[in-house]
Symmetry: C2
Subunit: 314 residues, 2 copies
């Protein structure tokens, strides 16, 4: 949590970062589509803020991609506020006001050899009634990769680019945020991570807000470099109905995680967020199969092994 008297990063800078990231990611995906599909934008408002959702579907490369910016405020109930501040801030009996802005990205390519990816960068303030200086502020975010088929070189590349962004700020960030990512994206009832991880950070605060904003900016900039080369080298690989069916099962797991465990989804829906924008993360199509354990020795089993036993990629 923030130290008393430290000025928080300006809200304007955070909103600008979210919008810039939205522009950059959307433009990069459209370049890959080469005219076959483009983003449609919807500006939305709710009592307490608004945002801009951009969605692309039925592309040659991407089955769907959602890139959403939001700038929202409202009342955070005492229980949720106590949880968010880990008990370090007096949240009173009525909870605290919050102000939050962020960008979230979920991309589902068509080819089962091209992984799904997610990125999210956000900034939060909790405020007491009548006070403009936040009682607490923090950054959260990260990015993770969800392949249906394991290519070690892809996972290594994705992690490597994010590590470089982390290392510019703190050599301790990458190992810490890599582990946090493996811990966070866990489906306990499946004993599986949702993918090969990446970085995940939350409640990042302290006495150097400008430095933290710089770190989050560099992380957000790293996403396109980490992800798009992977899509480029996998998007035209041959595949058949077997690989497509497996991809749909993996997307089913993605749905399970997002609906059951994802904090952003739960926070958004519980605080009256726009359901359509929040659930943009869900794939156009997903599947389930009873007893879907792949036979040992297959490519599918190789992926599941890594999901059950997170690996150091670097």
């Amino acid at each position: 949590m923030s130290a008393v008297g430290v000025a928080p990063p300006t809200r304007d800078a955070v909103v600008a970062l979210a919008r810039r990231t939205q522009d950059t990611v959307c433009a990069a995906l459209e370049r890959l589509e080469n005219g076959a599909a483009s983003f449609r934008s919807v500006a939305w408002t709710r009592p307490g803020g608004g945002g801009e959702s951009r969605f692309l579907r039925d592309g040659d490369v991407f089955e769907s991609a959602g890139v959403n910016v939001s700038v929202v405020h409202g009342l955070m109930p005492p229980g949720m506020a106590a949880l968010a501040t880990e008990g370090r801030v007096d949240v009173g009996t009525r909870g605290l006001r919050f102000w939050a802005s962020g960008v979230s990205v979920v991309i589902h390519p068509r080819n089962p050899m091209a992984p799904t990816a997610h990125a999210n960068y956000r900034y939060f303030e909790l405020l007491r009634a009548g006070r403009s200086e936040p009682a607490a502020w923090w950054f959260g975010g990260g990015s993770d990769l969800t392949p249906s088929y394991l290519f070690v070189v892809d996972a290594t590349h994705f992690h490597s680019v994010h590590k470089t962004a982390c290392d510019r700020h703190d050599l301790g960030y990458y190992p810490r945020f890599k582990r946090a990512c493996d811990d966070y994206f866990l489906l306990p009832h499946r004993n599986e991570r949702r993918g090969v991880g990446g970085i995940f950070f939350d409640r990042l605060s302290g006495d150097d807000p400008a430095g933290l904003l710089g770190f989050v900016t560099n992380s957000a900039n790293a996403f396109a470099e980490a992800y798009l080369p992977i899509v480029e080298r996998r998007k035209d690989l041959p595949f058949g109905v077997h690989e497509r069916a497996w991809q749909l099962l993996r997307r089913g797991r993605y749905v399970e995680f997002n609906l059951m465990h994802d904090r952003g989804t739960q926070f958004g829906l519980q605080t009256g967020g726009r359901a359509e924008s929040i659930l943009m993360s869900l794939p156009v199509s997903a599947g389930w199969r009873y007893e879907d354990e792949p036979p040992p020795g297959t490519e599918e089993a190789k992926l599941v092994h890594v999901l059950r036993n997170p690996r150091e990629w670097l």
Copy 2:
């Protein structure tokens, strides 16, 4: 909750009801498949019980159907036990032991004109350490219908059969359990019920356990009569890609409800249940579409209107 000194329904009778219902429903569905598909059975055990899962997939009529019997026991944490007994029973600091048995049925037909259906009948006991007489016992269950296209005659038939089963025991049951069903199967973030309802009851206890067992037995017996005639008259109706796509979206909503709100799913997964059996309720295929509100005046809009405005069917 049970009155002190009233003997609870015997566990044997409850398990027998669950097994009989499993046999009856599976046989009826296989008759409709006429040799095209049959149930595969898996007996499973876990520390604290076991059960038998039966699953049918890729039939001519049914894309998937799961019928699961479980007989389980374990420790219910204090929070969950307090919730389950609505604070009326001292749950101590370590929670209470539970014993539970039930049958659950989820059926996803192939034809979008044929509705999905769910039924569940269960019996619970909470027990204090060293005591064999339960501190609380109750029945729960019900059945509900989830069409992709609205046929008023189907909804009326489904409700009517269940009302008849209710009326044999208590004229107050149907109106109460019909309303409880509309309340329970609500997706708040969509402001939609998951279907046209049915009956839903929980924590049904009292001083006439044999009578309640009779009611639950009659409800369970009503399910096949309520549901199968609907499938028979819809399973061969013509449909195209448009209707199929809409069915997948409705199944996406089914997934949202089951993963986010269904108490049985959450109880099962949180108490270490067999994930594959619990998630048998999820469809083989489902979909999501950003901004999926159907145009006014369409058959799809007619359904959504009813999901937002529950109706009296009788």
